[in-house]
Structure formats: C-alpha cells, structure tokens
Amino acid sequence: MEIVLTVNGEEKRIEARPAETLLDLLRRMGYCSVKFGCGEGACGSCTVIMDGRPVNSCLVLAVTADRREILTVDGLGTRQRPHPIQTAFVEAGAVQCGYCTPGMVLSAWALLERDPDPSEEAIREALDGNLCRCTGYVQIVEGVKLAAGRMKPKKKTTKKKKPAGKKKAASGKKGKK
C-alpha cells in the first residue's frame, strides 16, 4: 500500500506492508535513530513526533500514518549543528549508552515546544514514557532544564523612560559616592 509521509520536512512516497509498524517502516527507510526497544509502547526508544505530538512509533500501523508529518531526531540537528537540546544533553552528561537518547530528546523537544519554561515535575511527566536502562534520569532532567534555559525566548524588556527629575536625583546620588 503506497502512503505519503513527510519525514523531517521531506515528502516521501513509500510502499508500506500491511502489518508494518511505523517504527519498522522508518528504519527500513534508513531512519535508524528510531530504535526498537520493547515493541509494545512501554519504553519510548521508538519515539517520533507525529503531527507535533510525541508517540510510540511501534504502536502506529504504518499505513495509518498516511499524510502525516513525522519528525525524527535526524531532523532536529546534525553533528555539525546540533540542536540546543542535544548540546545540553552532552554537557549535562545525559547520554550513557545512548539507546534511549533520540526518544528522550524528541520528548523533551515536544515539551519545550508547548512549555518553554517547564517545572521539574513537568519534565519528569513529559519523559514518563521514555525509559533509560542506564538509569541516568538525573542528568537527563538536568539536560532538559539546561536546554530550556537556553531556548527560552528572551523577554523583550522595554526600558521605561524615567522622569527627568528622578534621573537627575539618581545621578546626583551616584556622584556623591
């Protein structure tokens, strides 16, 4: 069955097998950052972003993903130009064996897209479907916090013009020091 997928911004026409999962299809297409873990939606190694939402690609029948937009970690950053979340993960030591990392990064990305300043609780909840067998959760949460701090849109501070009189008084005090 031919389906049309947009993967990392590129439209692809591909023949999907009837019982094939989106995970298997993406790996067959060469997106090997999408990992097979449990095959039953428990571990999050196969996380992809489908139409803006993080999902377990092992639970999605490939034929039902027709006309959907898929984002894998390959579409987020490159080795030369990594995404701020990827950089933050490296700096926080959030990568051990690395098997869960693509899924973790994508879940973190989805969280920061909708909540640029998440609490630790929100981070933990957003990553609750991604298991790290190396149990490096502390560093992973730290990595997301670090990325959030860097990606947070800077607030536009409009300098209020102080009344002329007050300005003079302030400068006057400064002068006395």
Binding site: G41, R53, P54, N56
Partner: protein, 292 residues
C-alpha cells in the same frame, strides 16, 4: 499484529462515510482509532481497516453543565482539557492523566478506551459512575446507549455491524453532588489492583441518589446496585456506610489476579468504598489513598 489479509485502508473524513464503509465491509472491515489495543488484543483477520483519525471527532466541549467528548479525542487532550477539569471534581482529567505514558496518551483515544476495555482501563469505570451516554452512529441511524447498557457486555458485541461510537456525553450533575475516584496500586507504573468511583447527590446527610462502581475486578466495570440500595433515599450514618461497603465487597465479581487473592481484593473493595463514603457522604476527614 496479524494483518496478513489486509488489502485496503480507508481514511474517511465524515462519520457517514465511515459508517457506510464499515457496513459494506461487514465483519471483514474494522475501525481503527488510536490503534494501541492492536498490540494487546488478538486481532481477527481483516481485509479492510477504516482509519478514524480524519473524522472531526476530536473535541471536549462543555454543554449545559455536562461534557461532550468526541470519540477520536486523544486522552492527552482530555487530560489537558480545562472543561474536563471543571466537570465532576476533575475526576475525568485526573483519570486521563494516569492512562499509560505521555507517549501512549497521544495515541490512545477516548472512544478506543471505551470500546476496547482492558482490566486496567480507567475510563469505563468513570463513564459508568457518571452514567455517561454513548452516541452510536450506524447504517440505520443514530442511537444513544447509557453506559450501563454499553458495558453490559464487551462493547464490541454491543455495537452492531457497521456501528461506530462517535461521542460520549457526560450528563450535568445534580446540585449537591459529590464524586470521588480512588485506586490502589503498589507503584506508580503498576496497573491498579482495584479502583472505585462514586457519584452521589445528597441533602444534608440524606443520600438522594448514588452510583458505586468498581473497576479492575473484572474486565468490565461493575455497578454495585445492592450496595447502592443500602444508602439510596436514607439518612446516612456510620452503620449504613459500613453495611454498604460490606455489601459492595460481597456482590463484587472478581476475576483471578496472580498478584493477590480474591479475599484481598474483597478487602480492598470494602476499604475503598467505606473510605470514599465516609469522606463524601459523612464528611469525615478520611485521608485519600495515594493516587499513583
């Protein structure tokens, strides 16, 4: 997933089109919502999958104090819905937040969770406690089934050929109504041993009406009508509440669970029902069980 005979996948954009395709396909066509249950439920051989993701059935709307939820609404949306948070003490939202993981909740749909219940499912228990109505569209038109009827058998057997659950309607609650939902599990990620949902309306200590529902004892949630009868229309006191919880524990049917004995589950049922009634009917300060 056994889909060797799959020949065709359709993506209807209207309910009428979906119903027509399902009716024409008879038992060789199957509706697919989030698709998550395919991993757990043995799949009969189908030739055609009718993918429901393009139907305009993803919404949570407040209406006259009640709530209308489209069948294709991901439970993640229900968990984030302010309208669901305002209904019935926010139980629906609380329960939706607990279904699976964040990744699962983006795939699992409200309709799928109700049509294909598992012993761990939470939404059927709540839908039954709130006497929700299921709006079903079929080749012969639309019909509405109360949750009591919908969960009298496995819902897939209740739905006739070509029929599709399109919407769940949670009715407006009476004044002075109180609600509670509690469940017991050993860890945050464990499936609940047992869960209890209670909805009641009262005037002072007089219990005007109530629904006591227990889930996870069997695949389908059970409404405990004998226990309800102990309290309905009567002025509640500790003796009656104790009696109601005893009756609830006795009338509960229990499916074998390798994690604990049947007696243990009966004790859990008794304790959950009594604790909830003491809190929301007798106004006692009974600590809530930690809801993992």
């Amino acid at each position: 997933m056994r889909l060797a005979e799959l020949e065709k996948v359709t993506y209807p954009e209207t309910v009428a089109e979906a119903v027509r395709i399902l009716a024409e396909g008879k038992d060789r066509a199957m509706a697919l919502s989030g698709g998550v249950s395919f991993v757990f439920a043995p799949l009969k051989s189908v030739e055609q999958l009718v993918c429901l993701s393009r139907l305009p059935l993803s919404y949570v709307r407040e209406e006259k104090g009640g709530l209308r939820i489209g069948a294709v609404t991901p439970v993640a949306d229900l968990a984030a819905s302010p309208a669901a948070g305002r209904y019935g003490g926010g139980i629906l939202r609380q329960v939706a937040r607990r279904i699976g993981s964040t990744l699962n909740r983006n795939l699992i749909t409200v309709g799928g969770n109700l049509v294909q219940p598992f012993i761990w499912s939470d939404l059927p228990t709540v839908a039954l406690a709130f006497s929700a109505s299921m709006v079903i569209q079929g080749p012969k038109g639309r019909r509405t089934l109360k949750a009591e009827k919908f969960f009298s058998r496995m819902p897939k057997q209740v739905l006739k050929e070509g029929e599709l659950l399109t919407e769940v309607v949670f009715p407006p609650l009476e004044k002075n109504s109180r609600t509670a939902f509690e469940q017991f599990s050993l860890t945050e990620v464990d499936f609940a041993y047992l869960k209890t949902a209670v909805r009641l309306s009262r005037s002072g200590k007089k219990c005007l009406d109530l629904a006591i529902v227990i889930g996870s004892a069997t695949i389908l949630p059970q409404r405990l009508e004998e226990a309800e009868g102990v309290l309905r229309g009567r002025t509640a006191n500790q003796v009656l509440v104790n009696e109601a919880s005893e009756v609830a524990a006795e009338e509960l049917k229990i499916k074998r669970d390798i994690r604990c004995s049947e007696d243990y589950k009966r004790d859990l049922a008794r304790a959950q029902v009594r604790g909830i009634l003491e809190r929301i009917l007798l106004d006692q300060k009974v600590p809530e069980w930690k809801l993992f």
